[in-house]
Subunit: 278 residues, 2 copies
Amino acid sequence: MTGLGTETGRVYLIGAGPGDPKLLTLRAAEALAASDVVVYDYLVNPEVLIHTRRDAELIYAGKRAGEESLSQSAINLLLIEHANRGRVVARLKGGDPFIFGRGGEEAEALVEAGVRWEVIPGISSGVAAAAYAGIPLTHRGYASSVAFITGREADGNSSTGVDLRAAAHADTLVIFMCGGTIARIASELIAIGRPASTPIAIIRWGTYQHQEVFSGALEDIACDADSPVELKIKPPAIAIVGDVVSLQEKLRWFGEESLRHSLPGSAGVSPAPHGVLV
Amino acid sequence: MTGLGTETGRVYLIGAGPGDPKLLTLRAAEALAASDVVVYDYLVNPEVLIHTRRDAELIYAGKRAGEESLSQSAINLLLIEHANRGRVVARLKGGDPFIFGRGGEEAEALVEAGVRWEVIPGISSGVAAAAYAGIPLTHRGYASSVAFITGREADGNSSTGVDLRAAAHADTLVIFMCGGTIARIASELIAIGRPASTPIAIIRWGTYQHQEVFSGALEDIACDADSPVELKIKPPAIAIVGDVVSLQEKLRWFGEESLRHSLPGSAGVSPAPHGVLV
């Protein structure tokens, strides 16, 4: 990234990291400061925009779950057009652009249009949410493998759907965007052979001051598509499954006590905590 | 991290990220600047130490593959003793502390000793090496799951050994610390059912200017423990396995052409490239 800002017409695909705006990289902050145009998603903490220039054009691209302010192809076009007009463009995405960020698709579009680009990795939201909840994703004697999957399309059999089976047996599972599907995913994991007692933590707004953690076991929430009652968690939510989850009892260091809940099926819980839609 | 540096006696477990020193987070830079003592590993780029104070005590903890300048228990003691003397201690590790970084073990030791601590996630070396090689770890139509494993103990059946089977079927596999074992891992992956033609890229010194990438298919390097000849790659090396690896043909944007090699078994290659010990 030598000559940042001295050459024109290029796109930086930037990972903004998770909620904590201090988890932005130095390189991302530099690229933002050099950019004429910044296209950012819903899951980017707006505090990150403090690194942009006063005269930069800021464009909100949406992508809130269920909503899509700008379609993917509209975003691609936007990046290409601004770069072709000689502008330095920052494409700012939550987490890491190449882990469930569709950054690869945008890179392909830029390559096809002949636009100069580079990628600036970000702290993955799943990694950071676990760390702030006191959960090491790998840990001697607990987990020597970790898999990342998405819960978004786990209910369908479409070609873009998640094949849980492929990754379900990694020691630790990190399930992105799982608020609406986590109960069925839990059920499926048990059906595939994960013990029903496997610990799970569901983390909302990971690394934000208002980070919320729901803890229990797969069996506490498991239900299939026919169940009359299904636990859903409001997005943004990421789940961690595996024995390492139990380490949070010892290693939690961040977040408010009042925002730590047991999952509905767990012993000692009766009222549905805030954020749980049953 | 309010009051950074105004309170004494604490440890920051910090991920220094991969080689590119600009991939350090703002939070890590702040914590380094507030630290009286900095304990850093071999895989931390020394350029990151520019953020430390002039009067900070810098302690090299080693951990080069095969060597261990300080044992894990000695490191734990060091952190605890300095914190107990009221010092702010930065424990700086390559990549992310909670992904094959043994950060969880150090956190446990700190908790047991009653030392205040927090973790500052870093860009995982596997994620960054892939990004700088032009490989999105997930990509629509190519990969909707990615698993991280370590190649360090894949040759043993010890309780800390890697169970390849658990994660081998994730669409994308990222294999950390695999220089000495990648040939046998490739063989095992084929035995488990991954097609022999599955693309693999082995990345040395990922994100450094001298990043080196070896590309081919599993069958190009697969060999078992009895093979008279075995490909080994000098550390530090990380491998990416899966269809997404083929995207680098289109998406590579970083690194020197002269440092991109085909693996020995690939068509058109005869001399063993630099860095390969056959």
